[in-house]
């Protein structure tokens, strides 16, 4: 019985943990342990899905999906509870489970107030994100898409720094506004499909077949694109991101950067392009422009930052530009590269935010100016700092290189000009990364800082992330193999 509802278990297990934490609320230590327990259990469960390669489902699944659940929900609107997992979802699910464990780890000691609530929100967040990555009914997808905002709003607002309230509200309003227009588009295509076929349904597989007039399709795709581009974030819709990232607590930043941004890219791949292929083609030049400009602009602005966290935040704008580039190219190689890059960026940027958080916990400063000569004091921390900076800069042998490289060669075949400009952007990436490494790790000590090196917990977190970065960099082929089938199906759609 349970084996037919594994996806439901996967989505709601963290919520269960959250409820348990809130219900008990006896001690902070217990809350941490329960959160860690559920996060690890979730990771193990998501790992289990890698062992299921054949179609394993009660319900007839669409091509490419090896796990599928499809049951009645609100028949009145033709809404069904449909969850499905293919290779792309699986990668995203695994990333989510992995990063949530990291998120629990990095906030183990940094969070001292209202501890149970914090960990409960982290787990609720995980449920929401997993729902987004697995939902195949547009109504259900929208529901998870909105629900996901709520825990992050509280995470930033309660445990954030600086202008936390402003950032939390800005984050919520910005992303909510974008998704509401998507809701109108969802309802419109739902009604169009119903009028054409006589059956009203929100299922992605049904809606893909809708005949959308070209000019209407442009508007509908624009509404989807707006929602996804804000999450992505694509230039010029990125302005919520530096505020939210900078003011969020460490775990919040890690989850924002590693997971929330991916939901935008995932939505575009899963829903935006397949639903409106013609409109997507028409918008491609615009997405290219936004992606390429975002790559350079993000890197450029990152270079000018004084606050480390803001620097990493802007670097996300730059890196996610590559993902957008790969999606816009919509060729098998570029799209695989983009999906791989989503995972890579999740690991690398998550690690960088964790590192910044660790430095901040030690010195209570995120200003680059305060640091200098850190290598001499905390060699282990510095080693990881260097490693992840290099990964972020795209050093061959580490993870980001593979993704960016695939995106570039995939894009070059279909659109040489954007690929060329993106390559220039990569050079800029190197500039700000090298500056960061040089000023913080090396250089002269600017202020006397008392620092201790990594604790066992911190070392463990970083080591796990480092293994991930190296593994993805050296041997990406199993992952590419996993997404090959779904990507071929997606690109074939067009």
């Amino acid at each position: 019985m349970i084996s037919h509802h594994l996806l439901t278990l996967l989505v709601f297990l963290p919520s269960l943990g959250a409820l348990l934490i809130l219900a008990v609320r006896k001690s902070d230590a217990l809350a941490r342990l329960v959160a860690l327990g559920f996060a690890v259990a979730e990771l193990v469960l998501s790992g289990y899905f890698f062992t299921l390669d054949t179609v394993h489902t009660l319900y007839p699944a669409p091509a490419g999906f090896f796990q599928y659940e499809n049951v009645h929900w609100i028949d009145f609107f033709g809404i069904r509870y449909t969850l499905g997992m293919d290779g792309i979802s699986l990668l995203m699910v695994a990333l989510t489970a992995f990063i949530t464990v990291i998120g629990v780890g990095v906030s183990w000691q940094g969070i001292k107030e209202r501890v149970p609530l914090h960990f409960a929100l982290l787990l609720l967040m995980e449920s929401g994100i997993l729902g987004v990555f697995l939902a195949l009914d547009l109504f259900l997808f929208y529901l998870f898409w909105e629900v996901m905002l709520i825990p992050m709003f509280f995470l930033i607002g309660i445990w954030g720094h600086g202008r936390r309230i402003y950032s939390a509200v800005k984050f919520f309003l910005y992303t909510f506004l974008g998704s509401l227009l998507m809701l109108v588009a969802i309802i419109t295509i739902f009604l169009m499909h119903g009028a054409q076929s006589g059956t009203y349904s929100f299922a992605l597989v049904d809606l893909i077949g809708t005949k959308v007039p070209y000019d209407v399709g442009l508007w509908l795709f624009a509404a989807f694109l707006l929602a996804f581009a804000i999450k992505f974030p694509l230039f010029p819709l990125h302005t919520w991101l530096p505020d939210a990232h900078t003011d969020a607590p460490t775990a919040g930043s890690v989850i924002l950067a590693s997971l929330l941004l991916k939901t935008g890219a995932y939505g575009l791949v899963r829903f935006g392009y397949p639903l409106f292929p013609d409109a997507a083609r028409a918008f491609t030049p615009l997405i290219y422009a936004a992606a390429v400009f975002g790559i350079s602009y993000g890197a450029w602005i990152a270079f000018a930052q004084k606050d480390m966290k803001r620097l990493v935040a802007y670097s996300s704008v730059s890196h996610m530009g590559f993902v957008a580039l790969g999606i816009a190219a919509w060729s098998p190689i570029a799209l695989s590269g983009a999906i791989l890059q989503m995972v890579n960026h999740g690991v690398t940027t998550g690690a960088l935010f964790a590192l910044v958080g660790m430095l901040d916990e030690r010195t209570h400063s995120r200003e680059i100016d305060t640091y200098g000569g850190v290598w001499g004091k905390v060699p282990a921390l510095s080693f990881f700092f260097l490693l992840f900076c290099m990964a972020s800069a795209g050093l061959p042998g580490l993870n980001n290189f593979v993704g960016e490289f695939l995106v570039l060669i995939g894009t070059f075949k279909v659109a040489p000009l954007p690929a060329g400009f993106a390559f220039l952007g990569m050079v800029l990436t190197l500039v700000y990364t090298v500056r960061l490494v040089q000023e913080i790790l090396f250089g002269k000590e600017r202020k006397p800082l008392v620092m201790h090196d990594l604790s066992l917990r911190e070392g463990g977190i970083l080591a796990v992330l480092a293994v991930g970065a190296v593994y993805l960099g050296v041997s990406p082929s199993p992952l590419l193999e996993l997404v090959k089938g779904p990507v071929a199906l997606l690109v074939g759609v067009k």
Binding site: I74, V147, F153, I158, F172, L183, V184
Partner: protein, 484 residues
């Protein structure tokens, strides 16, 4: 000897009104003998009366019965609305209990007045004759004028009562003029006969007497639904009236005005549909926008919810503008959801408030999330629902209304609607910002739960979530209720 033919009188369709009126009068009598410290029993008795009335209402489901020569008709539409009124009255009574003791206005008349107001609303929902609708409206309004000024010692409450009375009387004047002109043009006050007359004499649509009559009726109802630009009375009345009465007014009477508005427009004036939907379009946009924009800058929570209730009437008008079965069913569902989520929010306000309506500003909620986590979480559910965020009743309601509008081709109206929703999120979030993100100066030790309020909160939270997650059954009922 000549016999006088007595028409067969069928009391069944107005049985709920009869039951509730009798109970209300009985309560007035009992009130005299009940000592002032045990007036709470009157609340219990009135709840029993409401349950009995509800049972009688439900028995009318599925078999429309008309009586009094077609002047009243108990059909599914009326049943659904009557249940909304009964829910709003019951919930308001549940939260009054603690409030009247705190504000020292523990006068037993409160409960019968709420019941009489409910009788008025029920008459409005089942009236098929303009005179019956008017009669219901007057019974409702006069009870409400007294209820709004029920806190005799408070200047604000007095102001609310007087203001509501003056503007209410004014709007009733409009409505009555409209009805008189329509009668003059068509020769009947029965809305069925008006429709018949218009169908057989299409040239009446150009008769200015008739058109002005229809417009004045629309204006009269717009006053009662607090649609902009006829909303001016709302904020002051809602702020000044005792909190449970505000909760009641924002849910029940508003729904009653919609019930009568919908029935009159759709049944009596179907041939002029294109004209009045254009009018409603403008009214909907104005109402949503004005309500939301002014709500943004309110510090007093009651006032903020008053403006937000204007905005919510605007969302309902979106469904009315669509003027298809989905739109009307959407209004039914939305009014039901709104009753629970809004009165729920008011219940929390009653708990947080101090004597003399003190502690009603959003700043006074600072730190509630830490000191009273459960209460704060419950208020969050209501606020998210009011903002239309899934998985809550408010989201499903808006979803239904906006999809009805899109189906009728009013896509721009739907877009304006969702943009308004986005704006409204700001002021709902603001309350949460204070509850969770601001340090607390208070310990909230005066916040004491009573069984009545606990029941009210439980009912409201459960309904808000159930209608948000598994709304199927109620949606089907709402759909079946669209028959006139």
């Amino acid at each position: 000897m000549e016999t006088i033919a007595i028409p067969a009188i069928n009391l069944a369709p107005i049985m709920p009104e009869i039951i509730l009126s009798c109970i209300a009068m009985l309560l007035l009598l009992v009130n005299v003998f009940v000592p002032s410290e045990s007036k709470g029993y009157l609340g219990v008795l009135s709840l029993v009366g409401l349950v009995a009335t509800a049972a009688s209402v439900v028995s009318g489901w599925g078999q429309p019965v008309a009586a009094f020569g077609g002047a009243v008709q108990l059909d599914n539409f009326a049943v659904f609305f009557k249940l909304i009124f009964i829910c709003s009255a019951a919930l308001a009574i549940l939260i009054s209990d603690k409030y009247v003791v705190r504000e020292e206005i523990n006068h037993g008349e409160l409960y019968p007045l709420i019941l009489f107001a409910t009788v008025g609303m029920m008459l409005m929902a089942c009236g098929m004759d303009l005179m019956v609708i008017f009669l219901g409206l007057e019974v409702l309004s006069i009870s409400l004028y007294v209820l709004a000024g029920f806190n005799r010692g408070s200047l604000k409450s007095n102001e609310a009562g007087l203001k509501y009375f003056l503007l209410g009387a004014f709007s009733t004047g409009f409505l009555l003029y409209g009805m008189a002109l329509t009668y003059g043009a068509t020769g009947s006050t029965k809305i069925g006969n008006i429709a018949g007359f218009v169908a057989t004499n299409p040239q009446v649509a150009t008769n200015s007497l008739f058109v002005v009559g229809m417009l004045l009726i629309a204006v009269g109802f717009s006053f009662k639904t607090a649609a902009a630009p006829f909303h001016m009375w709302t904020p002051d009345v809602y702020e000044g009236a005792p909190t449970p009465i505000t909760a009641f007014m924002s849910a029940g009477p508003k729904a009653a005005a919609f019930a009568a508005f919908i029935r009159v427009m759709i049944v009596a004036f179907p041939t002029l549909k294109h004209d009045w939907t254009d009018l409603l379009w403008i009214l909907a946009v104005l109402t949503m926008t004005v309500g939301n924009i002014i709500a943004l800058s309110q510090d007093n929570i009651k006032r903020m919810l008053a403006y937000s209730s204007i905005a919510h009437a605007g969302y309902a008008l979106v469904g009315f503008t669509a003027c298809n079965p989905e739109g009307v069913a959407g209004i039914l569902f939305y009014m039901l959801s709104y009753t629970f989520m809004n009165i729920g929010a008011f219940a929390v306000i009653v708990l947080i408030g101090k004597k003399g309506e003190a502690n009603g500003n959003v700043q006074d909620f600072a730190g509630l999330g830490q000191k009273r986590p459960l209460l704060a979480a419950i208020l969050c559910v209501f606020l998210f629902s009011l903002a239309g965020i899934p998985p809550t009743a408010g989201f499903v309601g808006k979803f239904y209304l906006f999809s009805a509008a899109i189906k009728s081709g009013y896509i721009w109206l739907a877009i304006i609607g969702v943009l308004n929703s986005a704006a409204s999120v700001y002021y709902y979030l603001r309350v949460m910002v204070y509850m969770y993100f601001k340090p607390s100066e208070e310990d909230f030790d005066w916040v004491g739960m009573t069984p009545a309020i606990a029941v009210c909160l439980l009912l409201c939270v459960a309904t808000t979530l159930v209608l948000g997650v598994v709304p199927g059954t109620v949606l089907e009922l709402a759909q079946k209720a669209v028959q006139f």
